[in-house]
Amino acid sequence: MRRKALTTATAGLTLAMALAACAGTPTQTPGQGQSAPASSGASGAAEVADAAVGKIYNPSDKKGGTLKMANTADWDSLDPGNTYYGYALNFARLYGRSLLMFKSAPGPDGNTLVPDLAESLGKSSDDAKTWTYKLRSGIKFEDGTPVTSKDVAYAVARQFDKEVHPNGPSYLNALLDWPKGYKGAYKSKDADISSAVETPDDSTIVFHLKEPFGLFDYIVQMPMTMPVPKDKDTGTKYQEHIISTGPYKFEKNEIGKGFTMVRNENWDPATDPNRPALPDRIEVQTGVNADDLDNRLISGDVQIAVDGLGIGNAALPKVLPDPALKARTDNPVQQRTWYTSIIPDVPPLDNVECRRAIAFAADRSSLFRAYGGETGGITASAMIPPSLAGHKEIDLYKSPDDKGDVEKAKAALAKCGQPNGFETNISYRTERTKEKAAAESLQQSLARVGIKLTLKPYPQDDYFALYAGKPSYVKENKIGLAINGWGSDYPDTYGFMQAIMDSRDIREAGNYNLSVKFPEIDKIIDQIKAEPDAAKRAELWSQIDHMVIDQAVVMPSVYGKALYMRGKGLTNVFISDSQQMYDYVGLGVQQ
């Protein structure tokens, strides 16, 4: 199955919605590299678990060799204007240069935005509605043509056409002040788009926004701003012959099977401080059987599993008990929280004390095991995961050994007027074994105080559209609790929290949040949007986090972790917080 790696987000017409986040898969699927038992080469890098978490494993600046990658599925598209998978954004930086990019560096340092095509970060007007970028000089396409700001403007205008490029993010469509009736570069060929994008000269590009947006730099680091030469644009066919601006260009590209990349002679390292461009050649195979891929990682036939989802369930029992294999794994905490929504629309959960009773009675240690224990995550007490600004542990429901506080739960039930407990339903995604285990864990621990849960599994493809994300269904079927998961789209707390905290986004169906509905929180979110000071924004997010935990409308279980394997014969391996997987820009091959 084409893995719905990142299930989805809202990103709608409103600015707020444009900042989507995504729900993820708890059942981690296939795998990631591994490394040679004792042959990590001349540098003699030691095989230690987590050696690429927060630091560089086997650092090297030696160039040459072939990097072998494989993907269990296929790209949504290689076209920079039509792609949105997390790994695709990571990978696109090898063949394209956007205005800005995330620094290729381990750990939190990888969260830093650095100029790429641009000379510096965006310069915004005082009202944060106009953003100006100056391009570096000397950057060329693979055919030697110089890149100008007009190529960037064209890229932005072409991706506007969602009939032709439906996969990419719609941030720029929603944020920029496009002329009325504009249909994109193909259908509105001669339209004047200066109200949205201007290119006063060949090295300057100016974006005009509909309303102030302080985080615009995060948007232009995405591949939508990678330049596309107008005369080479073939619409849906452009993915077959992409004109590179990065260190690698396509040598052969067979959509659905794989491709190879070689050095782009017209990429000048002097214009690019961000990419070491170590391998001479990159080979990528797509549509590889997931279990076979894990085996090939172990044997060394493949060095990186591009999808970045971690080792598959089938390979886990082989890898974890084997010290030599385990030593090649990296197990970072991700910007992802697995949690349970407690929905106030379903009585008696409209009473905060009844909700708190659930939060007190839940056995957190058992939930931790349900989500896979040590390698699956770390116990969470807040919604904001540790690597995002505003994260603070919130110990409102602490209990001895995390086993739940039955006495306090009973007291809360008494206050709620339900001293003997009550009955409600809990939903989860049928296909996800960890979510099922979490629901069963809650069923058992809540039974201790007389709260009786009935398990309601639903198919994951329709989970939000028809069931747990549809207010009318939830009310009619008394779904008091819903197992959920949420991951950030880009490493800013806004990208993580807004879509699951802003009640104004709640629609008839397809919601990722039904339980957080507080006008006070909506107001704070507006405040955050207008707040230029990052520290103050973080503080406001902490406030929101504290409120939702205190009101017990959400109950975090774990901050998710993924288990990756380092590829055999790789150098310069690290996981960056922005990519939340191995950073593909940094990778090299042992010589």
């Binding site: 199955m1 084409r2 990142l6 299930t7 989805t8 987000a9 809202t10 990103a11 709608g12 017409l13 989507a20 995504c22 494989a70 296929d74 949504d76 598209s77 039509n82 792609t83 949105y84 072409r158 056409d161 969602k162 009939e163 032709v164 490029h165 439906p166 996969n167 990419g168 993010p169 719609s170 193909y186 644009d233 073939t234 619409g235 849906t236 066919k237 452009y238 993915q239 959509i255 659905g256 099977k257 195979q285 549509g287 590889v288 059987n289 279990d291 076979d292 891929l293 085996n295 090939r296 172990i298 044997s299 036939d301």
Partner: protein, 337 residues
């Protein structure tokens, strides 16, 4: 004979038409009857976070707002006359037979099918040779040495071969022979026969054996039963009485008669090979028709599903036709006059 062939070809075309109508109905009509809107169809082919406007645009582009019969007519017209395809930046002509463009990656379906058939044919022909030779030889030897150790062992292995699924034998053999011992190629290895025949055969050896094992078992058992029956016939005794060499008795008189059911089964099996190819290609990460169809179904890529279904149906129909014609060669009793 000519009339017979013409009749069969017309029958085959009618069969393909029916298959296309049924497949189209399953994917386009049934969901509609169940209440799926054009937007619900289109929502599968947009990125995450797509707005309703994007979904509507895509539904429009893929023609989901038209009545199902119009959509089917367009599909059929494409196959017969070819069609035009708008890439956004321009219009491209897709010549007949045009099975349309993939909803997922915008690639024309027919060239993909042709390209992938090379892999599936390579896999199928190699495996067929192995299973025919291996299966029939084992069957004959088992029949001649009925009750011997060889017979028991061979039939035991045959039983295992039929019972074990390809994804099991495939994964185990990859694990042992490719990743453990390094004797055979790893999963996903492929080079075209025209480029390097030796490498081609080396890469496909394990998939061939895995797929052949499944079929060979059936053939061994079938041949054994057939041989046991024929070898007890009067004419075999007569042949021996005439003083013919035993080899000639077995091959010319015994095997020839026992071969008819084998040819029948072989025709069907070869036609249905796609079934085995689905599992083999998925297990070994080979980009053939089998894997193509699995991916197409998983992704709801309707044009690709239609294309591969029709091609598979065509395969079965043609294989059956060939078998019927081959009967005449193998068995003079059914020769058309």
């Amino acid at each position: 004979m000519v009339t017979y062939i013409i009749r069969r070809v017309i029958g085959a075309l009618a069969m393909l038409l029916i298959v296309s109508i049924v497949t189209f109905g399953i994917f386009f009509l049934v969901p509609r009857l169940a209440g799926a809107t054009p937007e619900a169809f289109a929502a599968r082919y947009v990125g995450r976070g797509a707005s309703m406007d994007t979904i509507k645009l895509v539904a429009e582009r893929l023609g989901f707002y038209d009545p199902v019969i119009v959509q089917y007519g367009r599909f059929l017209k494409g196959i017969v006359l070819g069609t035009e395809y708008n890439t956004g930046a321009g219009v491209e002509h897709c010549p007949a037979p045009c099975f349309g463009y993939s909803f997922i990656n915008q690639q024309p379906v027919w060239p993909s099918l042709m390209d992938r058939s090379r892999v599936t044919l390579s896999l199928g022909i190699g495996a067929a040779v192995l299973w025919l030779l291996g299966g029939v030889a084992t069957g004959v030897l088992s029949a001649l040495r009925r009750g011997s150790f060889f017979d028991r062992a061979a039939m035991g292995i045959a039983l295992a071969g039929v019972s074990l699924p390809i994804f099991f034998t495939g994964m185990i053999s990859l694990s042992v022979f490719s990743y453990g011992l390094g004797w055979t190629a790893p999963g996903g290895a492929w080079v075209d026969v025209t480029i390097d025949p030796l490498q081609w055969a080396y890469n496909l050896l394990l998939p061939w054996i895995t797929l052949a094992l499944l079929f060979a078992a059936t053939y061994a058992r079938l041949t054994r039963a057939g041989m046991l029956e024929t070898m007890g016939e009067d004419y075999i005794r007569t042949a021996r009485a005439k003083g013919l060499l035993e080899r000639r008795v077995v091959v010319k008189h015994g095997l020839r008669a026992a071969l008819t059911p084998i040819v029948t089964v072989f025709g069907l099996d070869f036609g249905l090979l796609l079934g085995g190819a689905v599992l083999t290609e998925t297990t070994f990460s080979l980009n053939g028709l089998g894997k193509f169809s699995v991916d197409a179904i998983k992704n709801n890529d309707l044009p690709a599903v239609m294309g591969v279904t029709l091609l598979a149906a065509l395969f079965v129909v043609v294989a059956n036709l060939v078998v019927d014609l081959l009967y005449a060669v193998v068995d003079p009793r059914v020769r058309l006059s």
